[in-house]
């Protein structure tokens, strides 16, 4: 019994951190109707800053913490004014996800450059000795944390419900246009909420610093769990944020203690999925449910990029020649060959993401989950049961399609934000399974001894063979998709993206199309994952984890979504750059965050959009001589 209470105390402390983050999410969502995925990163920036002040400059931890919170607040103000608020003005909600994922990556990358990858910790505010209370141990820092959570909860509760500023905050989220007609400075309110949320996160980071260890990328974990807590509690509801945080903290600690520490995350995710499916607005919903996301309406627009009917085939032939002859000839034997192969493998998966997001407008943060299913199924079958790789790939594909079907049916009612969370939860669930099922997958250290891909005894074991295998798979996938997207299926998807209700009114079977597109996307991810494992002959959870999902999102946006071919540029850029600039490896994360922000804010049609004018011109020039012929 005592032990259980001790565990619950641990859960409450954990829950306080989640609650603080969830409050930040709620605050930003209340004002801006957007999710700020960079939330957790501010926590870690403040904690790392305090650690530096404490360890290198002998500043007392509390004073250092206050300085760090102030600095983090200023940093948030700068990022908010330069990135977040301009983004709100011109991007639809789904792109705000990508933009703030960019901010998260940017902050992580910056932290990596400044502080390196070592993990560190802070010293307690009031001594390291825990308090003994009826046989229970409570770290004094825990009391600080609980106190901070209480204060923040009260202050923001009063701020939102009782003050003029609180009502103005809500007005901004409800209807920014009308709010500005009331004389409310909408941009300023949005910035204020962003900075306040970051400051709350920073405070949380400094106060929890002494009871945990952290490094540059711990923020990602806090973002995810804070976000889950906010959703379980009901996003936008201040009380819900706290309840969700505590619930999540206690549940995961109990699961870790009594079931298995490896599956405690899985439990959190199952809880989240259950809440999403049965009560999408959370346990404590805020205000009446909105029938439609008003904010989405005026901002759903994108550049239409069309390669002409006659230029198309010419460019396709050029592409095929480059793919099958040019690249292997140019790169054979060089170190870049391996990068080229990885580019093609990942591109297959990103293609799936493009069909899902670019064409059908469904946000997915879990594409790597399908790569993991495909990769692990095929390689486990190959390693443990000696099944031929092709068969394993097909079994992986079947399981992925099954999972996608279940996902699609379960999340059919969800759109935008909630769908994104559900896919994120799916990806994380797969992550925790690949780590947890140690006897099958080899756990965190990975699965070794995977054979290379082979068909009927022919082994694709040299780089050139592997390259041609991938080029072939890619050409088939691209060919099929290019046909499908140009036809009525693609048009139906774009109609669903623009307005699912109107699409249904036109007689498009929206559920069936969503299911189909989910399956296409999952299938491509699964095949790509299998080939990934067979190429490396090794597979570890981090190779196909959630960070890869986010990176593939960046590749898609940077390349140009909704274009099929465009993402290749994004994949190639983000795969090749780190290889080409090996000495600058530590800047990789920073760079990809920066790219993601710049592209989603200023070049929403991606590299492909920028190039398409030139491509069209090139295609036109090449067919000009043909036109002279009769």
């Amino acid at each position: 019994m005592l032990e259980a209470v001790q565990i619950v105390i641990g859960g409450v402390l954990q829950g306080c951190i989640f609650a603080l983050l969830a409050i930040g999410f709620s605050l930003v969502h209340r004002v801006a109707s957007a999710i700020n995925l960079a939330q957790g990163a501010f926590c870690i920036v403040a904690a790392l800053l305090t650690a530096t002040l404490e360890q290198s400059y002998d500043v007392p931890v509390m004073a250092g913490g206050l300085v760090a919170v102030a600095v983090t607040g200023c940093l948030a103000a700068g990022l908010g004014a330069a990135v977040f608020v301009p983004g709100l003005r011109r991007l639809p909600t789904s792109s705000m996800f990508i933009l703030t994922a960019g901010l998260l990556t940017l902050l992580e990358g910056g932290s990596l450059v400044i502080w390196g990858s070592q993990s560190t910790t802070l010293s307690s505010f009031s001594g390291e000795r825990p308090i003994h209370l009826a046989g229970l141990l409570v770290p004094t820092q825990g009391l600080w944390l609980v106190g901070l959570t209480l204060v923040v909860t009260l202050v923001q509760g009063v701020l939102l419900a009782r003050t003029r500023a609180g009502r103005a905050f809500r007005a901004c989220a409800e209807n920014p246009l009308a709010a500005s007609l009331m004389g409310i400075g909408v941009g300023r309110m949005q910035l204020l909420s962003f900075v306040l949320a970051a400051a709350v996160g920073a405070l949380g980071g400094v106060v929890m610093g002494p009871i945990t260890s952290f490094q540059f990328d711990t923020g990602r974990m806090y973002t995810i769990f804070g976000f889950i807590a906010a959703v379980i509690g009901g996003i936008g509801s201040p009380l819900g944020a706290v309840a969700g945080g505590l619930f999540l903290g206690i549940a995961t600690q109990l699961a870790a203690a009594y079931v298995s520490s490896l599956f405690s995350n899985a439990l959190a995710l199952v809880l989240l999925l259950a809440v999403l499916v049965w009560r999408p607005s959370g346990l404590f919903s805020a205000g009446p449910t909105r029938r439609q996301d008003v904010r989405d309406e005026p901002r759903v627009q994108r550049a239409v990029i069309r390669i002409g009917r006659r230029q198309g085939p010419v460019l396709a032939v050029i592409g095929a020649v480059l793919l099958f002859a040019g690249v292997p000839w140019a790169l054979q034997g060089s170190g870049l060959m391996s990068s080229a192969i990885i580019t093609l493998i990942v591109f297959v998966s990103v293609l799936g993401l493009d069909v899902l997001m670019g064409y059908a407008g469904q946000v997915s943060l879990g594409q790597a989950g399908f790569m993991a299913i495909g990769g692990y199924t095929a390689s486990v079958l190959a390693v443990q049961f000696h099944l031929p790789p092709l068969l394993g790939t097909l079994v992986g594909l079947a399981i992925s399609l099954l999972a996608a079907t279940v996902m699609a049916l379960g999340t059919m009612r969800l759109r935008g934000l909630y769908l994104a969370i559900a896919t994120l939860a799916f990806g994380l669930l797969v992550d925790s399974l690949t780590v947890g099922l140690e006897s099958l997958t080899g756990g965190p250290s990975g699965l070794v001894g995977i054979p290379p891909f082979s068909v009927a005894g022919f082994r694709f074991d040299t780089p050139l063979r592997a390259y041609y295998l991938m080029a072939f798979v890619l050409a088939v996938a691209l060919g099929l998709l290019a046909g499908g997207m140009r036809g009525s299926f693609g048009r139906a998807l774009m109609a669903i993206r623009a307005d699912p209700l109107a699409a249904a009114a036109l007689g498009i079977n929206v559920p069936r199309h969503k299911l189909a597109v989910f399956c296409i996307s999952a299938g491509l991810g699964s095949i790509s994952g299998s080939l990934y494992a067979f190429y490396f002959q090794f597979l570890s959870p981090e190779m196909v984890g959630t960070p890869l999902s986010l990176q593939m999102l960046a590749m898609l946006v940077v390349g140009g979504e909704g274009t099929l071919f465009g993402p290749l540029f994004g994949v190639a850029l983000l795969t090749l750059l780190p290889t080409l600039f090996q000495p600058l490896a530590q800047f990789k994360t920073l760079g990809s965050g920066l790219l993601l922000i710049v592209f989603s804010l200023y070049l929403p049609s991606g590299i492909f959009g920028v190039l398409s004018g030139d491509l069209r011109l090139l295609g036109g020039r090449l067919i000009a001589p043909l036109r002279v012929l009769p």
Binding site: R164, A168, A171, N175, L177, A178, L181, M182, G287
Partner: protein
């Protein structure tokens, strides 16, 4: 009170309205008449500062406000009640009205103030705690106007207040507009319901393809032959007291165009 001269504005740098000049005097109603897409809402949004002016000048009570932000214009007493009501659906009626007085400061938006404004609207007075999103269309329009009144307007821009409302509600809105004028609030009334708005207005301004094509005393605009045919219906629309006049006008216009074959 409000003087607009040579105003051009639009979206993404492309002008939707250009060279628009008009004046609204103190205590006057000026009716802005035009078909769908003529540029009425663009003009309203530019005057309230939601859209930047590409050229021209807007002065309000002698002050040049062309560059002022929406909040400054609200503080000066220039209030825009937007098309399509735009109430805060997730806030209560009382909170909506209170937010209308956001720029006045905390002391001025007491509950009595909110009650006093709401008391003018039968539909709202006993629904103060309801979510605005759950009101009917007519009630939401009343709420939008009440919210505008809370800021103590000197000039009210009403953009399509009768759009999509039942005839009895339309009549009520127009009655209210008349009362507001009698209180000394100047009104720029943008309407497709040309006959009713010209009857109540002091001046009329007709806007077509983003340009002013006719302006003058309301009666003169009402009598202008071309206007009668285009916006008021060929038969004068007497049968239903002017209701649906604009629809009939557009329909007649359409018929004529079809007959001409363009």
């Amino acid at each position: 009170m409000l003087e607009i001269s040579g105003l051009a504005a639009g979206y993404d740098g492309r002008a939707v309205i250009s060279d628009v000049s008009l004046t609204v005097g103190a205590g006057e109603i000026v009716a802005l008449i035009g078909a769908n897409g003529a540029g009425k809402s663009t003009l309203a949004r530019t005057v309230s500062g939601l859209l930047p002016a590409l050229a021209g000048r807007i002065t309000f009570q002698g002050q040049d406000i062309t560059q002022a932000n929406p909040a400054a214009r609200v503080r000066a007493g220039l209030i825009h009640v937007p098309e399509g009501r735009q109430v805060f659906a997730g806030l209560t009626v009382a909170e909506n009205i209170e937010l209308g007085g956001y720029t006045l400061g905390a002391g001025e938006t007491s509950f009595e103030q909110v009650r006093a404004v709401a008391a003018r609207f039968e539909a709202l007075a006993n629904r103060m705690g309801a979510y605005a999103g759950n009101l009917s269309g007519g009630q939401q329009q009343m709420l939008a106007i009440a919210r505008g009144l809370m800021a103590r307007p000197r000039l009210l821009i009403l953009d399509e207040p009768s759009l999509g409302l039942a005839p009895s509600l339309v009549a009520e809105i127009f009655r209210l507009v008349g009362q507001l004028r009698d209180q000394g609030i100047a009104i720029l009334l943008s309407e497709q319901n040309a006959r009713m708005s010209l009857r109540i207005a002091d001046h009329g301004v007709v806007i077509e393809n983003g340009r002013v094509v006719l302006s003058g005393a309301a009666q003169a605009v009402l009598d202008a032959p071309d206007i009668a045919a285009r916006y008021l219906g060929l038969d004068g629309g007497a049968a239903v007291g002017g209701m649906g006049g604009s629809f009939r006008a557009r329909f007649a216009d359409e018929l004529r165009r079809t007959a001409r074959g363009d």
